[in-house]
Subunit: 357 residues, 2 copies
Amino acid sequence: MNSINQILSQITPLDEQVMKNVSKHVDQLTKPIGALGRIEELAIQLAGITRKERPTVNKPAIVVCAGDHGIVEEGVSAYPQEVTKLMIQNFIVGRAAINVLGKQIGATVTVVDVGVNGELDHPSLVKKKVKNGTNNFFTEAAMSEQEAVKAIEAGMEVAQSLIKQGHELIIIGEMGIGNTTASSALIAAYTKVAVQDVVGCGTGLNADEHQHKIAIIEEALRRRNINEASALHVLACVGGLEIAAMAGILLQASANRTPVIVDGFISTAAALVAYELCPAIKDYLIISHQSVEPGHKAVFEYLNKKPLLSLDLRLGEGTGAALAYPLLDAATRILTEMATFADLGIEKKKEATESTM
Amino acid sequence: MNSINQILSQITPLDEQVMKNVSKHVDQLTKPIGALGRIEELAIQLAGITRKERPTVNKPAIVVCAGDHGIVEEGVSAYPQEVTKLMIQNFIVGRAAINVLGKQIGATVTVVDVGVNGELDHPSLVKKKVKNGTNNFFTEAAMSEQEAVKAIEAGMEVAQSLIKQGHELIIIGEMGIGNTTASSALIAAYTKVAVQDVVGCGTGLNADEHQHKIAIIEEALRRRNINEASALHVLACVGGLEIAAMAGILLQASANRTPVIVDGFISTAAALVAYELCPAIKDYLIISHQSVEPGHKAVFEYLNKKPLLSLDLRLGEGTGAALAYPLLDAATRILTEMATFADLGIEKKKEATESTM
């Protein structure tokens, strides 16, 4: 816990002065004021995170955190637990969606075993296993607080190592059969939104299965007797090892002024864990997309955040974040490559309504 | 008009069989059914357009069509007409937003003068000037039908030439002070949505200026005595030369089975012109983003189309389409680079609701 407390104290508010300077520069570029919308906002946010007036996001690194979930014993998932391991093999041979989208944006893909149930061995797999999957949180806490801390620290170590290697941006993604259930439970516990408004029907669950998933989470939350005042306690009660690790990445990267793109529903649950541990992280959060899970919206409202994309994705792995990366890249490029009105010899006009100037 | 009629007959429905085959392949990839949402839809649409089961969108070409608008005499724009020429110089020296975003995606940028008011000369400028800007459509038709045809043909020639050079995808963008006014008039005329629901306040016009813009368009539409049954007549009455050229690009590219990404409000008005000339083009349309102009939504509803992005953009030039390009690139890559469940030795499960499988 010491290492986590140390990191929390290093996460300071975004640099207002740098953001003001960049905002002024953006308004001098050859376009109407605000015409690049959220791309401009991203440029300013990236400047605030990195404390650089001309930030770059070169060498993006994707981290897929993997962990299993004891709660699958309750029949909440359409896939068997073995699929976690099979998908990890798919990541390692480079043929999953995240590999394809990672290659497209020139990103490395690091797979971290934080808590997969069973042995996995491959030279390119980062082994940080805390335990063989969480406990079934319907019958006992998913993990101890010590285990939750270990999983957060695993993420911190991975982030630290990637940043040292010169990666200027990290994408967090995950793999773990059962992890929408853990994420839904975390979101309901932290935001106090009703479980039935967090858990989705998806395309795979019929009405009965959907109701079953809701009932399991509701009863589990009752049984765990959760003290919401302790962010770590909630995480240990109903969270996931890979979720904890992603929170650790967010915390470490933010302390190091390195931007992170949050992926979908499960990654956003991790962002919520990081926020509950350290509210200052809110302004650092860049959420890539709106997933189809209804609980995702609950977190956006709770954190007052707006995702960049809305493409009906529900894959995880970091795929939505990888798809959003070019928007951040674009944001940094406009700051250095566009001409200003002064360059063109045009006196800047008042804010214009015309779409093309 | 002969060349246009010839092209219209070459635009045939998307290839249903190819789309079915690709859809089947997408469902065998290592992800839950439908988990890549609109990326999967794009993959299938691109297959239908190109008639290829493994389409590619290499060597994207951005075309910025430029033209001036006589209607600016009525005080509908926050920028003076000279800005069109100055921005073209900015495009040519490569320092406008579209150059930056074009470079990011490895696209060429072609600037076409279809109707800029005044002389422009540069070896890299494509000269297809039909006239020195449209007439003020408050007092007379913006152009003759012959001029509208010439402008459409200009776009067709540019598209033909780019496709011959091996560009597998075209992005249409524009520059022309006053062209949101022409676009709003076109959209109101074609869709019959009330002018006041099409014209936006933007950030530059105060309430009075906004009302003035609405009043000018309403009165102009009355005076032009428009026969909505003739798509070409509407275009000639209140359209723009660069808008006609973009419609020409869409028609020619679709006939050649080459996908086009439509940019923002003005490009979408051009897509609407193309649709009114040739309804079969609807399934070819890929609209990059939802602009802040309210009239944009009216067209989406009219065409039953959904833009890919919503980033509060209102710049034009093709910038929104350039930002959307990586999504199309991703769509083609998943078709060739992802493993199938059979590759992994997993029997495919029923549709799953879990976000990560």
